[in-house]
């Protein structure tokens, strides 16, 4: 008990984080806002598919950084948590709590002031988007928490020179890499910082070399995993980073003409305003610069701030390519948003910079007047944060997220979902690509083993060849729609205008850009009989939900 009592501040911070995140989760659940982004649904489905799929297992994790998916597996196995999206909250809340405690301890270690450590925590916890992403199945909070932990251990290694912290820091670099793509940049940056520190300490070459191995081995594990996975399952070791045939095709066909980095970075700055409020962003930048200039233990602070801003730098660097384009309404012809959340990745920098600057100023001058001014500024910052949160949550109800290009209105159910919910309960397989159709996987409440999609490799390939032998339902992007122009749907490409396909299938429900086709079973059976094919040989018809065996697959070919 005495040991626990020594950590009462941390316990208070943890409770604050838990309560705020829980309240937000409840609010989002009530308002049907937990799964409005395509990515949220995709993450949920990735996790669920590892256990509920025609081909369950590691192959379903996908080439995205897999940590969230792996962590979410247990929660996603529960139907309620999966379908409501609360699996994300159940998975992320402990990570969020730990991350917040790390932030507190980090600022406390930097400033030696509990008050301003708490200020950093409040800035963080009052941000509506931080809370939003702590309650929904997204990776942002995961990376933020990891970067706080990494900063803390790296700082402690700097200060106390304990090998343990360097090893943990190495491990966390890997964890960051499998948390979000932005985490990948931490490997060279933290490695470089560590090298500089060792050189400044005038350590011998052999010791630096040994420490490089000790830090480097755990640190590269994340990247190694991503590369190995990509190599095995995508066919290219850098497939995860968008190097490969598919990405090349997308870049060649979809990248907007005239796309250049400076306007993208401008969009990123504006996205930061949306995510953290304009005053806080300016205040963060100002405090960061001033603190770096006046702080006593500069190198320690530099290191922490560099680590915390690395994810933003990674986003900015990625913007030199097409895929991480951040869109804000000011610069969008359609008045919409896209990937604005990327700008949230440097909220740690902002919170730490403001808190350390205020703490530094507070402790530098003992005048009551000056300290009063500092306290007033602190209160002002926090008030701005409160107002900002109120606007985002209550007034706008996360309009920025709802207006995202990949967002969909979940309040009204689609026709396809309605139809499948009531008619696809007989166990027939559904052929569909996952790209752009994830919502049907989630909202139809059907077992994911019913779907034949690109992640089922051999099943998908064979079903795509002659859908009528394998799939009772086909979900297809409508030819000529915007989605079909933007995203490649092989089902549409192959069958939308095929006579054979249209002979066996007919449209039974439609959404804005998608159609649902149902199979004419009688016709297939009579044709099969005519061709001398036994009904049992047709994979779709033995409705016993057995996974096709290798022999069956071979036979069906």
């Amino acid at each position: 008990m005495k040991k626990i009592a020594n950590y009462w501040q941390e316990i208070v911070v943890a409770c604050l984080a838990f309560v705020t995140s829980s309240c937000m989760a409840w609010w989002l659940f009530v308002n049907n806002l937990l799964t409005i982004l395509a990515d949220q649904i995709a993450h949920l489905i990735f996790a669920r598919l590892t256990t509920d799929s025609l081909t369950p297992g590691i192959t379903q994790l996908g080439s995205w950084p897999p940590l969230l998916h792996v962590l979410m597996i247990p929660a996603s196995m529960n139907d309620f948590l999966f379908q409501s999206g609360l699996a994300g909250f159940a998975t992320l809340v402990p990570i969020f709590v730990i991350g917040t405690v790390y932030l507190y301890r980090l600022v406390f270690r930097l400033t030696n002031t509990r008050l301003f450590a708490l200020v950093a925590v409040i800035i963080y916890l009052l941000n509506p988007y931080v809370l939003y992403y702590s309650a929904t199945p997204m990776m942002e909070v995961l990376l933020l928490s990891v970067s706080f932990a990494l900063s803390f251990h790296f700082l402690r290694w700097l200060q106390d020179d304990k090998l343990y912290d360097l090893i943990i820091a190495g491990g966390l670099v890997s964890v960051a890499a499998v948390s979000r793509y932005e985490g990948l940049l931490l490997l060279p940056v933290v490695g470089f910082l560590a090298l500089i520190i060792l050189l400044v300490r005038r350590e011998k070459y052999l010791k630096i070399e040994a420490l490089a191995f000790i830090f480097g081995i755990p640190a590269v594990m994340g990247v190694l995993y991503l590369m190995t996975y990509s190599w095995i399952f995508v066919g290219h070791p850098l497939g995860f980073a968008g190097v490969g045939a598919e990405t090349n095709w997308v870049v060649a066909n979809i990248t907007p003409e005239g796309f250049t980095a400076p306007p993208a970075w401008k969009a990123l700055l504006h996205a930061s305003f949306y995510m953290m409020s304009r005053p806080l962003v300016y205040m963060g930048l100002l405090c960061g610069i001033l603190t770096v200039l006046v702080a006593r233990r500069r190198f320690e602070l530099y290191s922490v701030l560099v680590i915390l801003i690395v994810p933003l730098l990674a986003v900015a660097l990625n913007m030199l390519r097409w895929e991480n384009s951040v869109v804000v309404s000011e610069f969008s012809p359609w008045n919409d948003f896209h990937n604005v959340r990327y700008a949230l990745t440097w909220i740690g920098f902002v919170a730490v910079a403001i808190a350390t600057f205020l703490a530094s100023a507070y402790s530098s001058y003992r005048s009551y007047l000056f300290r009063g001014v500092i306290i007033c500024i602190t209160c002002l910052i926090l008030s701005i944060n409160v107002i900002f949160s109120y606007q985002v949550i209550v007034t706008n109800r996360f309009a920025v997220i709802k207006m995202d290009r990949s967002a969909s209105d979940r309040s009204t159910e689609s026709n396809i979902i309605k139809y499948l919910k009531y008619n696809a309960i007989d166990g027939g397989y559904i052929l569909s690509t996952r790209f752009n159709n994830d919502k049907y996987f989630l909202d139809t409440n059907l077992p994911l083993r019913s779907f034949i999609y690109e992640g089922n490799y051999q099943y998908f390939d064979i079903a795509l060849n002659k859908p009528w032998l394998y799939a009772e339902w086909v979900i297809m992007t409508r030819p000529g729609s915007i989605s079909q122009q933007q995203f490649f749907d092989p089902v549409t490409e192959l069958w939308a205008k095929d006579e054979n396909f249209l002979k066996y299938y007919h449209i039974v429900a439609s959404d804005t850009e998608t159609d649902l086709y149902e199979l004419d079973t009688e016709l297939v059976l009579s044709d099969a009989q005519y061709s001398g094919l036994e009904p049992e040989a047709i994979a779709n018809f033995p409705r016993n939900r057995q996974i096709w065996t290798e022999q069956e697959l071979e036979k069906l070919k």
Binding site: L163, K204, L206, A210, L211, I214
Partner: protein
Amino acid sequence: MKNLSVIIPIYNEIDNLGQLINRLVDVLESFCNRYELIFIDDHSSDGSFGFLQSASIRNSNIRIYLKEGKKGKAYSLLEGIERALFDVIGMIDGDLQYPPEAIKEMFSKIYNQEAEIVIANRTYRQTTKSRTFLSRVFKSIFGHFVFGINHDIQSGLKVFSKKVFYNLQLSPTKWGFDYEFVYKAVRMKWRVSSVDIDFPERKFGESKVRPFQTALELFSGALVLRTRYLARSFFKFIDYPHHSERSPYNFSNEHDFLFLPEIHSAKRHIYAESVSFFLLTLTVAIGFFYVVSNLTGIPAFVILSALIAAFYLLFMLFKVFIVYLAIRYNPEIKISDEEALAIPEGELPIYTILIPLYREEGVINQISAAMGSINYPTDKLDITITLEEYDHPTINAISEAGLPSHFKTLILPDVKPKTKPKALNVAFLQVSGEFLVIYDAEIIPEPLQLRRAFLAFKKNQDIACLQTKLDHYNPKQSLVTRLFNSEFSFHYDYFMPGLQKLGVPLPLSGHSTHFRTEMISQIGAWDPYNVTEDCDMGIRLARIGQKTGILDSTSQEEATADFKSWVLQRTRWMKGFIQTSIVHMRHPFRFTKEIGGLKNLLGFLLIVPGSVLINVINFIYWIVFLVWIFFQPAFIQELFPRPILYISVFSFVLGNFIFTYLNLLATYKRGRYDLVKYNLLSFIYWIMLAVATTRAVIEIFIKPHHWEKTVHGTHLANGRTFAFRKFFRMKQ
């Protein structure tokens, strides 16, 4: 000397006592140099005790005791045996139905070493018909048929050597002493003989035997005993103590210097105990695979694959947990330089150092220098160097070196086995130190090590043995030495301290291990047939409940520098691990009990046989892995269905990573920064381990006791090397 203790259990025998004493005294005085009559009175109510008291005043050879334990003849006899002073014991009932005069002839059979137990065979009976009938039935059915003993096993007159009782472990019923004693003694291979006697009717007093009640007790007791032993005959591994344990350690054995009972030695590997345990395990395993395979429909080989995957995972987690304990608690015993140097010289005890040498002529000067550097008064050092009489180069080198006067040399008798533990056993008979340490020829101990060890023993009275840490002074000699050094760093800095914290038995090292000398006596010294006597020693210490501590003091030794020497040395180590496993698992239940329960058993299984098994499986799996990489046969895919594949891949990837990394950390911790990077080649070392272990498994069948001599002094040698050595050696 003809000395005899006669035990007479009595209960209300006042009418017989006078005549009994007179007849006994007459007969004993006729042939004994010294004798004693021990009467155990079971709280008689007829004044027997008072009568005996007055008799004892008249005859000083009469000793009387009022019973202390449970009521019944059997317990009286046990109390009497405990109190007997002489090496030969007689027992006779107090009812005068057995003629005391027969004792003389019975004693002479013991004295002439014809047998260790002599039973009076009742040939002519004058008792009641019912008792005669029951006795005959008991003798014929139980004596002959059930127990297979052609003597009157229920006879109340016996003479036997006291040594028979060592380790006999009797737990008789009220009347069940005789048959249990004789039967168990026979099972321990003691010789039984008999003398025919008349068995007349009781003249005075009442018989305490209620024929049917007593018979029932005897029959049931005998049946239970026999049934129990019948099961033990089938499952020998539950039958202990073994007959080789019927005597205490034989420190006078100069035949092969094995002081231990053979059942605790690797002298012979195949015992009924091991075979029965192996067969039972095999049967259970086959049954398990059959049942599980039938119930689940999973092929047996897939189940085996799953079990191996689970074993891998368990082994990995166990090692990680051990390392965690070492890092978290660091249980090493630390004695500072100041403390060690502050011990007054007068307080320091005599310390024995044993240095077994064989073909070590190259390092004699190094030994002299290393021993000379030890900070300990030379007059309190008892340094004994053992030498084989035909090892002339080393003997000559020692003569030429002119070692200081406190060094003693001991030429070993030319008897087999030619092993280091045999040399230690020979030397042990002459040690004079309170503490003892073994140093190999090439060892350079830390100068304050003896002082630290003494203080550590003094501070930790519950510790019987101290394991110091080992390091190499030639780690940069070749790639092999680099990897070997990393292994040692991990073993001594993380693994051993972790094991100590967990409280499981420690597999000791062959040298730089310090003992309380009396503890070596208590465990029967070393097993000369075990080629890793050190590991065996650690386990045997644990079996008698003794603790081993890790002392924070490092001895420097030479790492085997080339692949061949390394494999030879490691083959011996692994062979010794197999021997140790076989020896200690002869009585698995007993072992579990003695070693301190299931936790320690599991620890032992994972550390000793587990290390061997994991290396052999490694060898097989590396081959499977390579075959899969190059040929991808379907049967391998069938061996690893998805969950098993995940566990196996997890263990493979994470296990390789963790152990490579831990080696790396251990090397860093020892400040050998330049070696850190070589740990990335740990997988080569594991393949080498797999090769050596597989070799050991083969060698255990071919030449189980062969001691592969490790060549020392290669770091001192200059000149030509073999081509493969060149391959492994790297620029320093």
